[in-house]
Symmetry: C2
Subunit: 153 residues, 2 copies
């Protein structure tokens, strides 16, 4: 699907405020509400817009402790990464997980409510996954920036 300049404007706005009304959005960009509606639906149907979410303040729901964790898999396990992938996707504490090039294999972002909960996560969940051979934790002191918006250009 090809994305034109109007689509880009739509995506830029919706990434910052998904609650904007269709009427207001169409007014801002300068096309009619029905035309806008069709464009947004098309962006959704084609998977450009994946979903709409509410962003919660973690500290206000007692999930204020974050950690960035690197994980290495044993060589033979690396052959079947999708098993690891599936397991990671089931763990609620894992917000993000990236397969990376370099020393370690994966970098995970973890959110928990306490150090005890973190310890429990590492000892009873993460290192019990098949093939996990090395784990290294960096605790987050503060979140400097958290942005779900990617620049559209």
């Amino acid at each position: 699907m090809k994305i034109d300049s109007i689509d880009k404007q739509i995506l830029t706005i919706l990434q910052q405020d998904a609650q904007i009304t269709n009427v207001e959005l169409s007014r801002k960009i300068g096309i009619s509400p029905p035309a806008m509606l069709e464009r947004v639906k098309r962006l959704e149907k084609n998977g450009i817009i994946k979903r709409y979410v509410a962003i919660i303040d973690p500290s206000k729901v007692s999930k204020g402790i974050f950690a960035l964790v690197s994980v290495s898999l044993s060589a033979h396990q690396l052959a079947s990464i999708d098993q690891f992938t599936k397991q990671i996707n089931k763990l609620d504490e894992v917000l993000e997980c990236y397969h990376v090039a370099g020393e370690e294999d994966f970098i995970l972002k973890i959110a928990v409510s306490s150090i005890e909960e973190y310890e429990n996560f590492i000892l009873n969940k993460l290192i019990k996954l098949n093939g996990v051979s090395k784990v290294n934790t960096k605790f987050v002191l503060s979140t400097v920036k958290y942005n779900t918006k990617i620049k559209i250009e």
Copy 2:
């Protein structure tokens, strides 16, 4: 502000689907639409819900290259971290930035459209920030999990 069991259900649902209508949400949870509306507004006003956003597929808007970058500041610069913080917040390529405990000072998540753009970001933007003394890049091979939802319990 105190959050009860109904609020938790609301937050859990809105974190997955912020487009749900107030009518549908109230039906799911079992209170009337006006009561639901008041609760959601309260969660917004108290900053529990920070904002609503559309999540875009980066690969479909040619921002398919991600990197995780560690940054160390020189000792004297660490004294005024908020300067670094402000600068980081202005850079569109930086989606997330965490101040971490350990070897390095910050971990950044970067999104760009090409390796050339990445090189330009590092050479002309990141290392030109005051006090940046060490930079180390890990390129993301694949995103295993990307979740903005934190478990409410």
